[in-house]
């Protein structure tokens, strides 16, 4: 190789290396969408459902959309977890998603503040859709953060109480309890022990049991997690103290942490047929609307009923409320097909027929006002209990936070140490929780 060519080759290689080393991809703030939604295109849609029936239902929904929009093909990727979504939203690329759905409503704050998901306001305005009247108000609330709407609800989940009717009959209990003091009594009545082991637990109140998290109890107590300045409020809110105290007392009355923890670790998987409620090891279960279908599919040897989860005695007027969450749907900010993606988002989240048929197929609660009123909606009384809970004006979801659901996980950790009896001073514990949450939020903000 002659020298001049060799020098230029070295220079070229050096330049390429420097370019390669100094390039870093960062997301940008939303710059609007300029693609033509009528153009022929292929969208990539990531969702988290993995059970065969659910996957079939969403695919059927997408096929209907494709028939209505012949220019748009949708490539569906199933069984996606939040971690995968987070990576893809950062990386982008041709294999990345244009439309994503996630089950973790707690992450809306993170998605919106980081611009990972596109601002949907311009699209909603253009389509003349008012989220506040189209979606169930509480669901409209948990899909935005700080006035920024980067997601819309795609079906919802409502939480209530499932109970074993046969066990109730056997114990002489005629109706599901409405207040938490009644509930504690019923739970004790339904508990059967044999020597040192629990044969049947009326209810497992442990924060580590299935679905009995701080957050899910929190809605019944009406907790104000964060004050108007976004500071953690748990030490100041008497509802938090009431919740911790009630839960701890019930846990102790039913046998104490060690005994119940041993019982907890011995029961079957939450998503398998051996769920302790299915096997009769637990007589009452706090759970979402899907449990009814799972229990029916498992062909249990006993009858089950569903009711709203009880409320503190002082709030009996609000009986009927529950915790709400659901699936959220958004458009990746690094997608270059946002207008086409919006067509899919709009169809999945606001088309009444699409929402109703999907809700019926996967046994979730519809997220639009029109779909909730639809005569085509499943009439199964168990399921209807949850549709009513979803529509209760006091039903709620935890507030969105810049740090996602971290503040709930922190409180959950403190809850576990309190239920174990490791920390006895509740005031000090809640102050510690506030300090930790504020530090974490400051770091994330």
């Amino acid at each position: 190789m002659p020298r001049s060519r060799r020098t230029s080759a070295v220079a070229l290689a050096a330049t390429a290396s420097i370019a390669l080393l100094t390039s870093a991809c960062t997301g940008s703030a939303d710059a609007g969408a300029s693609d033509d939604p009528k153009a022929k295109t292929t969208l990539t849609f990531w969702h988290g459902w993995s059970a065969p029936s659910e996957v079939k239902a969403i695919e059927a929904n997408i096929r209907t959309f494709e028939n209505a929009h012949p220019n748009i093909k949708v490539k569906i990727v199933k069984g996606i977890t939040d971690d995968k979504i987070n990576q893809a939203l950062r990386g982008g690329g041709s294999q990345g998603p244009d439309v994503v759905s996630s089950f973790t409503t707690d992450n809306v704050g993170r998605f919106c503040t980081s611009n990972a998901l596109a601002d949907l306001k311009p699209f909603l305005d253009k389509a003349k859709i008012d989220p506040a009247t189209t979606f169930l108000p509480q669901m409209a609330k948990y899909t935005e953060h700080d006035g920024k709407r980067c997601t819309v609800p795609l079906l919802g989940d409502a939480y209530g109480l499932y109970y074993n009717k046969d066990a109730f009959k056997e114990a002489g209990i005629t109706a599901p309890p409405k207040t938490l003091s009644e509930f504690s009594e019923v739970a004790k009545k339904l508990t059967k022990t044999k020597g040192d082991t629990i044969e049947r637990l009326g209810f497992n109140p442990s924060y580590q049991a299935y679905e009995t998290t701080v957050e899910h109890y929190g809605s019944q107590f009406g907790i104000t997690y964060l004050d108007e300045n976004g500071k953690s409020n748990t030490a100041k809110d008497p509802a938090v103290k009431a919740m911790f105290t009630w839960q701890k007392k019930l846990l102790d009355d039913l046998g104490g942490y060690a005994k119940i923890n041993k019982f907890r670790t011995a029961v079957g998987d939450e998503w398998g047929p051996k769920h302790p409620f299915h096997t009769g090891q637990v007589a009452m279960q706090l759970d979402g609307e899907w449990r009814g279908k799972m229990a029916t599919d498992a062909e249990l040897g006993f009858e089950i009923g569903a009711a709203p989860f009880p409320v503190p005695d002082a709030q009996v007027a609000d009986y009927g409320k529950g915790y709400l969450s659901g699936t959220i749907l958004g458009i990746a900010n690094n997608s270059d097909k946002k207008n086409a993606a919006w067509e899919l988002v709009k169809y999945l989240s606001t088309d009444t027929d699409a929402v109703v048929s999907f809700a019926n197929a996967i046994h979730n609660v519809p997220s639009t006002v029109a779909a909730l009123k639809s005569p085509k909606l499943n009439n199964d009384p168990l399921y209807r209990t949850f549709v009513d809970i979803a529509q209760h004006p006091k039903s709620s979801h935890a507030p969105s936070s810049v740090n996602g659901g971290a503040f709930l996980l922190t409180l959950q950790d403190f809850g576990i140490s309190y239920e174990q009896g490791k920390q006895k001073d509740l005031d000090a514990l809640l102050k510690k929780n506030d300090a930790q949450v504020d530090k974490d939020n400051e770091q994330a903000g």
Binding site: G27, D82, T104, S114, Q208, V267, G288
Partner: protein, 315 residues
């Protein structure tokens, strides 16, 4: 200073360029896969960066947060150090012990070698899940057997005091890699040295202490150094064990906080992942990653400096 003739200077430059040309594949690899990530990790540790929006300078804020306020960092560091001390030393002892036993066996050594090596081939996720199932306090066969013989068995992966020992048992089960290395080195020890020692009246312990150990000391050092580095990056097994044992294995959008039970299985790489990819806090994640890097360097440097203590004179 002597002047170098221009012809010679050009020749030297050509020679230097040629050398660089031959070195370039490795140099590019070093720059792209080591130096650039390291430099950018240091850079991002002073930045607020969520991976989406442009980074902004925050000075030492991330460092202060990690060392003073992050609830995971110190428990994770303690757990990682526990694992480095206990797991690595037990793995070396166990691997050496099994290696010694199998080299001593006259018949069926091949069968035992295969039996001990096989678990190492099991994928870590599958192996961990199997262990959590075996050690399940309520339904696992281990506790059923222990209860039958009248013992009060522990809660294994569901008890903060037992979760790390459970992980250690899992690591000892997959000892195949070390066992094979130790066996090869044990078979390399010259037979005549043993014979000479025996003639001098050395017993079994003395033969091991004065003949075997000096001969295999480089291999022991290798096992310790690689073990320490691998344990500092210990991620998959504790994460899977915690997830499976806690029962939170996805579904209704419940978030999983690593470290179940009570942060006892939290390791430093899990904190890096949690901060960087779940909390969108690249800055703090980079701080933790740098701490891990520094610790690995210190440990390795310490062990290499102590090498003279491990090695025999001719090494």
């Amino acid at each position: 200073m002597s002047t170098v003739p221009p012809g010679l200077r050009a020749k030297r430059r050509r020679s230097a360029l040629r050398t660089l040309g031959f070195l370039s594949p490795w140099l590019i690899g070093l720059c792209v896969f080591f130096l650039y990530p390291l430099v950018s990790t240091v850079y991002f540790s002073f930045m607020k960066y969520d991976g989406f929006t442009a980074p902004t300078w925050v000075g030492l804020k991330n460092w202060a947060y990690v060392f003073q306020d992050n609830p995971f960092f110190w428990p994770a560091l303690r757990n990682t150090l526990w694992l480095v001390l206990v797991m690595v030393s037990l793995r070396v002892l166990f691997g050496l012990g099994i290696g010694l036993l199998i080299t001593k066996i006259k018949t069926g050594a091949g069968v035992f070698r295969t039996l001990f090596y096989l678990p190492y081939l099991a994928p870590p996720v599958a192996a961990t899940m199997a262990f959590v199932f075996l050690l399940n306090p309520g339904t696992g066969p281990t506790n059923t057997i222990l209860e039958k013989v009248g013992l009060d068995p522990p809660q294994w992966f569901n008890d903060a005091a037992w979760s790390k020992p459970s992980l250690t048992i899992l690591a000892l089960w997959g000892i195949g890699d070390l066992m094979v290395i130790f066996m090869a080195s044990l078979l390399d020890v010259p037979k005549e040295q043993y014979e000479a020692a025996e003639l001098d009246g050395a017993g079994a312990w003395q033969r091991f202490r004065f003949v075997t150990l000096p001969s295999i000391s480089p291999i022991v050092l290798f096992a310790v150094v690689t073990g320490v580095i691998a344990t500092m990056q210990y991620y998959t097994e504790p994460l899977v064990a915690a997830k499976v044992a806690s029962g939170v294995i996805g579904g209704s959008g419940q978030q999983f906080e690593p470290g179940y039970p009570e942060k006892s299985t939290l390791t430093v790489p899990q904190v890096v992942y949690n901060l960087g990819f779940q909390r969108f806090d690249t800055g703090a994640a980079c701080v933790v990653a740098l701490v891990l890097f520094a610790l690995a360097m210190v440990f390795t440097a310490f062990l290499m400096r102590r090498r003279s203590g491990f090695m025999s004179a001719e090494d």
